[in-house]
Symmetry: C3
Subunit: 262 residues, 3 copies
């Protein structure tokens, strides 16, 4: 299996699909998404980490690449039973750790990519490299002698961790999803003991609920979303609008003891 | 074959794709659409009924689920050569009748789904159930002893039928498609004898045409669309804007005898 | 392999997917894109020519069809190792020439398509014809005796070529891509000798760069894009907004000798 992910929208991913079908013999090719937030490496890294672990072992080609055409490396990463292919800008770091589990990801770089263009390495560098890894097997360094070499110092990327200040958890918004749900970096466990209670979000009381339907349509809520993190949401509405929050914003969560006014 | 349909947009469907690929051995997985009108069960039911019958026999996983995380059942429905998997909110009722043809759909429910989350049952309940049905064969009750039981009273959903009042057909807008075409619940046969004539829409004369190109670009027309229903459209434009109509609106169609001013 | 391309957005392409899966036995079905500019035959022809050559030999069903329901022909075109299926409006002409290479495309038309509807030939005419070609082999006239005949005079479509006026290249914008990059009809070779120099665009100096990252974020640049043509772009921004240019607009490129102020 070979998967494709990018921030390219449409129609450019079609060229990547064409390349991988042309350069593999029997690959099952699956689009993960091509609607990642445009040129936002951190958001791309988040979604890759959340989505790719649900797939069976595969070669994953992922491109969010504001530095296309510069001398940043093109990477091939062996992470557990998976192989990742993409630019060296941190995009692959969190998902590589996640897929590797107890092991350590092995990072390689293309020795001398000679792309046809300086503007579309998804088609000209990364898709062909992913197809080549798919065809030659999952230990690219062994089978790819000559076109890969160990990457000595790949760019790392780590998501911020929440802190505690004056009884509040000070977190950060990682992404807003297509429903408008505000996904924070605060672990869902922070709400243990407060399920179906009330917490404060930036000082205002908001009910904690098991699911969106736990409040009336249009009502705000705090919940543990599908990523395992604290999310700020509105039942059948948009949390980002209701809370006035977007990616990178700080959010203060008051989970101190208190009566439930929910 | 296993198909996926939802109102999730992107990127959440990727997790469902991952799950069904991971939990089946050789399924052909096809996306129907993930752009169904958001949390609109009736519109989702309409599109499923219109789209799924074009597919070969398959397991269809479909999710429009404003009640996610509540105690609504998760259904498995045998309908003709197809099996449907989705929430018990009426979404599957019209397509089940359509696919069953002369037969009666057989409705089952999951005995004890234990989802990881309360917010993403597409990934945690419905996709795994669809994969399980795909792997064990198309008579889920027989092969699924223990995890399925008959659903005694699944939620039904029926589209409104048009009425007649003072010589007019009083219908309702079911959906507006991506082109802006206004799809009503009025059967195309209502226009028999009026093809290439003029009818009235909410009192105003509009030409009936065989195809969009039957009027000048920008011109309004009434036609029988690809669903077999009366549609209100604009050649190379948007019918919803020109007629000022949206889903759920009443529309009065005057097809009484009269001269053709078209 | 059978590919699908259209301007249908969602969900109508699902019906085409259903039809081709139902009417073929083991086709690998790949979506190219369904987001082509709406009812814009020239833009569709451009994207098909840019995208389909990356695919392995396949049957390509492509629909941008403002004349649906009129008596325009439905075409089947043998072009090199590929076969194209779509409406006779020029959409297939440039890609047919491209895929045929040194050879000449062979143009056929359906003898008597009898579509169920006059509004959705993607589902009712073109997808079934593509499935039939896929099943019967790639020389449709030989295997399709009776349902195809030579098309005597298919609609042609050629992109405009740039001219020279008073030391400037006078070109035209062909398309704007999803990133906002303005793709012109001016060959990239026109910038030979001016790489990393400055040219004028409609009289204003703009630096020529190898890649988007060659200027500061927000900065304008001229580059040779992935189509091999001159593109006007903004690093991490939208070129169409910054240059005030859209499809069909004239653009004057001054590449005369001059000092580099880039």
């Amino acid at each position: 299996m070979l998967t494709l992910t990018s921030d390219f929208r449409s129609p450019y991913p079609a060229a990547m699909r064409g390349v991988v079908h042309a350069e593999t013999t029997d690959a099952t090719v699956v689009d993960v998404t091509h609607d990642l937030p445009r040129q936002d490496v951190r958001a791309g890294a988040f979604w890759l980490r959340e989505l790719l672990p649900w797939f069976p072992p595969a070669v994953h080609c992922a491109v969010v690449d504001p530095g296309v055409g510069t001398d940043r490396d093109a990477l091939v990463v062996v992470a557990g039973d998976h192989v990742l292919v993409g630019p060296d800008n941190g995009l692959l770091a969190p998902v590589a750790r996640e897929l590797a589990g107890e092991a350590t990801p092995a990072w390689y770089r293309l020795v001398a990519p000679e792309p046809e263009t300086a503007t579309f390495h998804g088609r000209d560098v990364f898709a062909p490299a992913a197809a080549r890894v798919h065809e030659t097997g999952h230990d690219p360094l062994e089978t790819g002698a000559g076109w890969l070499e160990p990457a000595p110092d790949p760019v790392d990327l780590r998501f911020p961790t929440p802190t505690r200040e004056a009884g509040e958890i000070v977190g950060e918004v990682l992404v807003v999803d297509a429903f408008g749900n505000v996904v924070t970096n605060v672990p869902g466990e922070s709400l243990d003991g407060h399920r179906e209670a009330t917490v404060t979000v930036d000082g205002e009381p908001v009910p904690v609920r098991h699911s969106y339907a736990g409040v009336e349509p249009g009502g705000r809520l705090v919940t543990v979303g599908s990523h395992g993190n604290v999310e700020l949401a509105v039942n059948r509405g948009r949390g980002d609008d209701a809370f006035g929050l977007g990616p990178g914003d700080t959010v203060r969560l008051g989970v101190g003891p208190g009566p439930d006014h929910g």
